[in-house]
């Protein structure tokens, strides 16, 4: 892990500009949040291909579908809570159902939004979006992964929901998408095993991947060999990697900045129960909307730190016996 911090939304903004230079077919829409979603960078360089619809998320998503119907690759961005919940029927009906090339890329996912509080949090987006047929759901773990993911979803033909975050967070990968000295290739629908483990596997997504790595390193000090899998694509889920980890380590802990219901934990539980039931525990937000505060303090209060993962690891290992 690097000392350098960067927000995933920032990487998205820069990746969009790169994309705009190589792919003239890309259009970008935003709903009055471009300075925050960072689509403003694209707007500056390609004003003719950028459309701000004002504070109107339903219009945002249906217009993107119109562009996609006419052959464009349409990126639509806003905060997760607005894109997911004010434009859900539009996304379902006018993008997901007809399999149109709409990329709904939202920033400010989860509770790491911080001080703005509950009205601006979104802790149910993964659950909602992964229940829609035809939709690919992507949650990158850091800025480096966001760059390659943005390119990958543009090349993929079909509707995508990608969730990004507000705060600056540590880089897990080295520039160019390398990890521990190895070059990686980003594949939609494939997870990245960051560390193999014999005793337990932590399956994490988004900002919780950093916490998972810290937990694994702390566990190692106690003689517990924990694996870490970064699930950057929640749907389609990399079942093979999860089942392999379950068989190898015999216990799974999921970690996500999301409601405990229906997100990554739910998706992993579905796969395990139908195939290889092993003791499993979920780290996530439990039955709460949250509150305003600095995001790291919120992570501590609402159970989203490496020590919360560590506790769950010990719990599942005890259950496994």
């Amino acid at each position: 892990m690097s000392e350098r911090l960067e927000a995933t939304r920032n990487a998205y903004g820069e990746a969009l500009v790169e994309l705009g230079r190589t792919n003239k077919n890309v259009v970008v829409l935003d709903a009055d949040l471009s300075p925050s979603t960072k689509t403003s960078k694209f707007a500056e360089e390609f004003p003719e291909r950028f459309f701000d619809v004002g504070v109107a998320e339903a219009n945002l998503i249906s217009m993107a579908a119109g562009f996609a119907s006419a052959g464009k690759t349409a990126f639509a961005s806003t905060f997760s809570v607005f894109g997911t919940e004010k434009g859900l029927n539009q996304f379902k009906q006018s993008a997901a159902y007809p399999k149109l090339n709409v990329k709904l890329v939202v920033t400010h996912g989860g509770i790491s939004v911080g001080e703005d509080g509950v009205s601006h949090f979104c802790i149910e987006d993964i659950a909602v979006m992964r229940s829609l047929p035809n939709v690919t759901v992507v949650v990158p773990a850091d800025a480096v992964e966001t760059r390659v993911a943005t390119k990958a979803i543009a090349e993929y033909e079909g509707p995508v929901f990608m969730r990004l975050s507000r705060p600056k967070t540590p880089l897990i990968y080295e520039e160019g998408y390398r990890y521990a000295g190895t070059d990686l290739t980003f594949h939609l629908g494939k997870s990245v095993t960051l560390k193999e483990g014999e005793d337990v596997t932590i399956v994490a997504t988004g900002l919780m991947v950093v916490e998972a790595l810290v937990a694994a390193s702390d566990l190692a000090k106690e003689g517990i060999d924990a694996g870490v899998i970064n699930v950057h694509t929640i749907k389609p889920l990399d079942q093979e990697a999860i089942l392999r980890a379950a068989r190898k380590s015999g216990a799974i802990v999921t970690a996500e900045e999301h409601n405990i219901l229906g997100g990554l934990g739910g998706a992993v539980a579905e796969v395990l129960v139908e195939n290889t039931p092993v003791p499993m525990a979920r780290v996530g937000i439990r039955n709460s909307f949250g509150e305003s505060g600095p995001w790291k303090e919120l992570f501590a209060k609402y159970g989203l730190t490496s020590s919360d993962i560590l506790k769950k690891v010990k719990e599942v290992m005890k259950r496994r016996g």
């Binding site: 259009v27 003719e48 291909r49 459309f51 619809v53 004002g54 109107a56 339903a58 219009n59 998503i61 249906s62 217009m63 993107a64 579908a65 119109g66 562009f67 996609a68 119907s69 006419a70 052959g71 464009k72 349409a74 029927n89 539009q90 009906q93 006018s94 159902y97 007809p98 399999k99």
Partner: protein, 288 residues
């Protein structure tokens, strides 16, 4: 030159007669297919039949042999419930056989209960949840502008549909972006599912609302073919702003007992098809 459309004035008597006759056949087929399907929306199909005939058989540029033709005009049925009349028009234009109409709403049919762009040749947009068509049309119209294409986009809205907030989001952005290759048509039949629009949710003054949002407004009798054709031509001439044609129509137009029922404030023919005997009576009246 496309097999259909892209045509403007003159609108002579023969043309009007031809299109009136087509509208009549679209009305009968809408009624037959919904009775066979035991479901479907007839009131709003009949009110829109003349507009649909004018578009599909004269004004709209399209090619049934090549539904994906890049330069085709785009028609969006934002009031997706009225798809029977579009299906009838698509069959008559040659996108698929008339026999397909009798499988409407049945399992495995290419004709879904509401429009599905992936299943039905000639259907441009999947609609049925009201309020989204105008936004989608704007995306298409702006894409045409970016690509330097000359095609126009037509969006047919219901008046009940104007209750949807998204319509006004789209109305605002269409004039903000000065989208002049977009024509909205409101089928103002004065009824929505549960009653008259005046009673359920008043739209008055509807023309002023559109004007206030920056649109060029044309008001017509939506059953007078010449007025429909002239208004479509006028919309093409208006530059720098979008145009809405507010078409005053009768819900159930063409079948007296349906029109009468709506005029008396009932809603029984909104989403329920005719019985076999009602259908026989209606067809007799249409073809008198």
């Amino acid at each position: 030159m496309a097999p259909f459309g892209g045509k403007t004035a003159p609108h002579d008597e023969d043309l009007i007669k031809k299109l009136d006759a087509i509208a009549l056949s679209l009305r009968s087929d809408s009624l037959i297919m919904t009775t066979k399907a035991c479901s479907g929306h007839i009131g709003g199909s009949l009110s829109a039949a003349d507009i649909v005939a004018a578009l599909y058989f004269h004004h709209l540029r399209h090619d049934p042999k090549n539904p994906d033709w890049e330069d085709r005009g785009r028609f969006i049925l934002s009031k997706g419930h009225a798809c029977p009349v579009i299906y009838a028009a698509l069959a008559k234009a040659g996108y698929f056989s008339r026999e397909e109409l009798w499988a409407l709403r049945k399992i495995g049919s290419i004709l879904q209960g509401h429009p599905d762009m992936r299943r039905t040749p000639g259907i441009e947009t999947s609609t049925g949840t009201l309020g989204q068509g105008l936004s989608i049309g704007e995306g298409m119209a702006l894409a045409a502008r970016l690509d330097g294409k000359s095609y126009r986009v037509y969006v047919l809205l219901g008046d009940g549909e104007l209750d949807e907030g998204q319509v006004w989001e789209a109305a605002m952005s269409a004039s903000h972006y000065r989208i002049d290759n977009l024509t909205a048509i409101v089928d103002l039949n004065s009824h929505q599912l549960s009653g008259c629009t005046d009673k359920i949710m008043s739209l008055r003054p509807v023309a002023d609302k559109w004007r206030a949002f920056g649109w060029h407004v044309i008001e017509i009798d939506g059953h007078q073919m010449k007025q429909i054709l002239d208004s479509l031509d006028e919309a093409e001439r208006i530059k720098d702003k979008p145009t809405v044609i507010i078409a005053h129509t009768n819900k159930g137009k063409g079948v007296s007992f349906i029109e009468k029922s709506f005029a008396e404030g009932h809603s029984e023919y909104h989403g329920i098809p005719l019985t076999e005997s009602e259908l026989a009576q209606a067809l007799e009246e249409l073809h008198e």
